[in-house]
């Protein structure tokens, strides 16, 4: 077995007749942070939405190619996208806790709907998930308050806890800090580093410094194509493509 968690082969994606991803081949390392960077509209968000089969939910959207998760093609007939999404969690650009639910229920909802009924087990899952997300100490006395009563950064960590509670193996993050202040963003970045010990993290960012700080591997997308992909250090120190170099030195994007 390879140490690759996800292997993407000849992935193409469309919105209607507009092709937004072109022949992407990419192997993502297990238990590491892989950053996807590139200018707006380069297909980076679409790319990660293809990895948990969210892309196809948009009316008119289409995908071709293969995405292997632990060697199994998630686009095979007979694969249930719902099962895939339990293994591949997602954090969104804007924190989106369920507004009508308490902090506790935001985290407990996933396991509850997956069949966990025992209150003590749920308590444990909620506590562990919030601890992992670094939020437990801040909210342990307010578990029955609404999720939207928290600050933006806390809300985003609540969303991370919510995703962790269903015990995924991969975490997809779509610009998770772009709606946050620098302090909150720094906390999330530290959390991402910690999560990589146990999870495969793929983070989309338009912030080049963030990609450099947080990732082990980095991919540069441009106009729907994967221009360059490799260990973060290599890509930033000696990029092979001139396009990559111009992007990371801030000449466009």
């Amino acid at each position: 077995m390879s140490t690759y968690k996800i292997e993407v082969e000849k992935l193409n994606a469309w919105f209607g007749s507009k092709q937004v991803l072109k022949n992407i081949d990419m192997k993502v390392k297990d238990r590491a942070v892989t950053a996807i960077m590139g200018p707006s509209g380069c297909g980076k968000t679409t790319f990660i939405r293809c990895l948990n089969r969210m892309h196809e939910l948009t009316p008119g959207a289409r995908v071709s190619g293969r995405v292997l998760l632990d060697g199994i093609n998630i686009y095979d007939d007979g694969i249930d996208p719902v099962q895939i999404r339990r293994k591949v969690g997602m954090i969104f650009q804007k924190p989106n806790p369920f507004p009508m639910l308490s902090i506790y229920d935001n985290v407990a909802l996933g396991p509850k709907l997956n069949g966990v009924k025992d209150r003590k087990t749920l308590d444990l899952i909620v506590r562990r998930s919030l601890e992992l997300a670094g939020l437990w100490d801040e909210v342990k006395n307010d578990l029955d308050k609404s999720g939207v009563s928290l600050s933006g950064g806390q809300q985003q960590r609540l969303c991370i806890a919510r995703a962790l509670a269903v015990e995924p193996e991969v975490l997809l993050m779509d610009e998770p800090t772009s709606a946050l202040d620098p302090m909150s963003a720094a906390k999330i970045e530290a959390l991402i580093r910690k999560l990589a010990e146990n999870y495969t993290v793929i983070i989309v960012t338009h912030n080049i410094q963030q990609a450099a700080r947080v990732s082990d591997y980095v991919a540069f997308f441009y106009l729907g194509e994967l221009i360059e992909y490799g260990p973060t250090k290599d890509v930033f120190e000696k990029p092979r493509s001139e396009l990559t170099e111009r992007y990371i030195t801030g000449k466009f994007g």
């Binding site: 969210m54 999404r85 969690g89 989106n96 369920f98 009508m100 996933g110 709907l113 919510r162």
Partner: protein, 279 residues
């Protein structure tokens, strides 16, 4: 034209328009307040303890009340909701969550058409379908009222669900929730107050309907006696009692009218409160 006379002209126009706007408002409000005032003035006489606990008096009996009509109205509304709310809410869910096709445009169109059909026509329809088979009954009346209720609940539910942000739906789907669970536990739950508001408005509407009840329920001045029999009804009380030659029945008609207005007003106040504290 000099500046000041232009200014004066503008002020005069302003005053005229203002006057007309307030006058229109006043004219629009006069009927509402005179109805409420008149009904309250005449209805209040009817209201005493007997009014709420006794059924329709027999001919020649003094006093009596509308307790059976209140009971009957609640039973009729309850049965109507039992039929109308599930169908309306589920149709609304379908239109908002499950259809992206022209099919839904067609359904939406027919739903609007159904909403526009005069209630007496729906009453006659229920007469032909149910009264001829079962007889004048609560079932026949509730069936007719639920046909009036369904398009209202369908439309308000659809609109309520569409107001739930897409990010909330995505969050649930990304957690590996099946679509139906996302719809029931997340989308419907987020919109429950708005959905409830729509249901209440539909109830307010059917509470006052009298034409379809007239042709499906018929006359009944006793207590509830089974779903295949008629029950008394507040709206119908007004029609029947006001036309009667007995003085105490006429008084009861005004009393019924007052209670009916209070109920509809009450529902509208609850709706206002619900709308204010969303989330």
């Amino acid at each position: 034209m000099s500046g000041s006379s232009y200014y004066r002209l503008r002020r005069i126009k302003d005053v005229i328009v203002r006057f007309m706007v307030y006058l229109a408002l006043l004219i629009a409000l006069i009927p509402l307040f005179s109805v409420i005032f008149e009904v309250a003035r005449r209805g209040i006489i009817a209201i005493n303890l007997d009014f709420f606990v006794k059924p329709t008096p027999t001919v020649g009996e003094v006093g009596g009340g509308i307790a059976n009509a209140i009971q009957g109205t609640f039973i009729t509304i309850g049965l109507t909701c039992l039929i109308g709310v599930p169908i309306g809410v589920i149709s609304g869910i379908f239109l908002s969550e499950y259809s992206e096709s022209r099919f839904s445009t067609i359904i939406r169109f027919f739903n609007e058409v159904l909403n526009g059909i005069p209630s007496i026509v729906i009453g006659i329809f229920s007469y032909a379908l149910i009264v001829l088979a079962v007889g004048f009954s609560v079932i026949a009346a509730s069936f007719a009222l639920s046909i009036i209720m369904i398009p209202i609940v369908t439309r308000t539910t659809e609109e309520a669900l569409k107001l739930v942000p897409a990010t909330i739906r995505e969050a649930a789907i990304a957690l590996g929730m099946p679509r139906w669970k996302t719809v029931v536990y997340i989308v419907l739950r987020s919109a429950k107050k708005t959905v409830a508001t729509g249901i209440l408005l539909a109830i307010a509407r059917i509470t006052g309907e009298s034409a379809p009840i007239l042709v499906t329920m018929g006359y009944w001045r006793w207590w509830f006696a089974g779903l295949n029999r008629p029950v008394a009804n507040l709206a119908l009380n007004i029609f029947l009692f006001a036309n009667s030659p007995f003085e105490n029945w006429v008084v009861l008609a005004w009393g019924s009218a007052l209670i009916l207005i209070m109920m509809v007003l009450g529902i509208n106040i609850v709706v206002r409160i619900l709308m204010r504290e969303r989330y």
